[in-house]
Amino acid sequence: MNAHLVAARRRERWRRLPLATVGILVLLFLALPILVVVPMSFSSAESLRFPPPGLSLRWYEAFFSDPLWLEAALNSLIVGISSSTIALGLGTLAAYGIVRGTFWGRGALETNFISPMILPPVIIAVALYIFYARIGILGNYLALIAAHVVIAVPYVVLLMTLAIRSFDIRVEQVALTLGASRWQMMTRVLMPNLLPNAAAAWLFAFVISFDEVVVTLFVSGTHLTIPKRMFNQLVLQINPTITAIATILICFSLAAVALAAWLNRGNGFVSKADGEGH
């Protein structure tokens, strides 16, 4: 290698230094909240000092010994599990109808099912509040679950239409030619093959429901969920217990999303940013 080339390469590296600095700083800015919250949850101090003066598990104890937090956690689990299960069932059926059906207006219907993901949650919250209040089911547990289904189902429809589209239609044709009914084909051929996708869709729906704040704040009445209680506490006062819950939530959603991404590998959903609750 001659001296000229070496010098050129060094110049190139120097020229990229500002870009690398900006890149690293922006990545740091993104990661900063997580880098701060996790260590603070192990703090022994009453105040929000960073770095924490000493280590303890007291905020985790505070969380697990507070009946209101536990009630919120139980509700979050019940609402999350039931709404994502209903969303998976209805969403998968609808995805199949949209992909393999021939009726008019399939595209419009798909857009309609996906639009709760794109609309600001507050619009859905206001609309549901007015509607639920008029028919007298505001604060009803089942009504809350129904709202969560609508918010979570876009992810199921998106993932399952993708999965069914990439499933070889000739396998379905063979099953039908051999005398299987459409339902038998669906339950005994299609779904076993799409099980990983369905599991991923369920997990995504669950995480979305578990994280949902805005619609829950408007329509849940007296029922508590974890994000709702967190929000209410954050607006009023700063309580370090929240750092412990935040850390549990970080681990929880990352594990769920990593599992979902692994189940759904090849479909490239996780890296595609689409609307999420705000």
């Binding site: 393999r100 609309a127 705000h278």
Partner: protein
């Protein structure tokens, strides 16, 4: 056994007698398939479409008399309370989108020049941030930006300022929190679009004597501009409906449209006015979304 004979009888019979429906049956496509969509359509129709229609209807109704009126919209347009909030929301949405573009583009571009492993690490950070609850990410900024937070202690220790800088409970704090939450929505599509640019273009440009500066501004940047525009609009759409971040980091002093809706619904029961404002937000969002889809198609 009987099952077998039955299918043996029925299927060829159908196949011969009525060719058209039979081919359709075995083509794997559904004759109509509408039944499959029906359960979800019923639920979404009842718990999403109908409420939205009712909102639209109540925005045109006077709260006291119940008569048809455009008064709710007039009240928003003429008000000294509501209109400034709408403008502030639009202003913050624009600032946040610009800031995301300004810091997101260099990062995405830098990532395209990294090694495979470097890209994986960077993507892992972005995706992690994307999936961590917005509440958690917003909450952390109270600790970071508060009067005795990390940033202020650093500023005071280094002698740059005597008294703590007010980052929280003003537009600056809200904007910082929103940029942090929305940046992944900018980075992921932008990075994907940048990877689509054919790497051979760089070689061609250099062979033809372009400097890397010229290559970037005359080839690479124009090629990624539609993606930048599309993500810019996506961020604006998401910003317009933000509720959590302004509520927590604004401390009630920086309400955006969503927070105003919360007040009109949960504190003063003025549903019809809230419905009108919500409809304005809906029209803004859908309008921007149409532009977004158009830009995506150009891309």
């Amino acid at each position: 056994m009987s099952n077998q004979t039955q299918t043996g009888k029925v299927v060829p019979g159908r196949y011969l007698a009525r060719t058209k429906p039979a081919t359709r049956r075995f083509s794997g496509r559904l004759p109509s398939g509408f039944v499959w969509v029906l359960p979800l359509l019923l639920l979404v129709g009842l718990v999403f479409n109908l409420p939205l229609l009712m909102t639209a209807a109540s925005s045109l109704v006077d709260q006291k008399t119940g008569a048809f009126t455009l008064g709710n919209f007039e009240q928003v347009a003429a008000s000294k309370v509501y209109l400034p909030v709408v403008w502030r929301t639009i202003r913050i949405a624009l600032v946040v989108s610009f800031a995301c573009a300004l810091i997101g583009y260099p990062l995405a571009y830098w990532m395209t020049r990294l090694s495979r492993r470097g890209q994986t690490v960077a993507l892992a950070i972005i995706v992690t941030s994307f999936w961590v609850s917005i509440l958690v990410r917003t909450y952390a900024w109270i600790v970071i930006l508060g009067n005795s937070g990390i940033v202020n202690r650093f500023l005071m220790a280094s002698g740059l300022t005597e008294t703590p800088v007010e980052f929280l409970y003003n537009e600056l704090g809200v904007a910082i929190g929103m940029i942090n939450v929305l940046l992944p929505f900018m980075l992921l599509p932008l990075f994907a679009a940048m990877l689509q640019v054919d790497p051979r273009l760089r070689q061609i440009a250099f062979t033809m004597g372009a400097s890397s500066f010229q290559f970037f501004w005359r080839v690479f940047f124009p090629l990624t501009l539609p993606a930048l525009g599309a993500t810019f609009i996506l961020i604006s759409i998401l910003s317009l409906g933000f509720y959590i971040t302004p509520a927590i980091l604004g401390g009630g002093k920086v309400p955006l449209i969503a927070n105003m809706l919360d007040i009109l619904i949960n504190q003063f029961p003025r549903w019809n006015l809230a419905a009108a404002i919500s409809l304005v937000l809906l029209v803004l969002t859908v309008g921007l979304f149409v532009v977004y889809q158009h830009l995506r198609r150009v891309e």
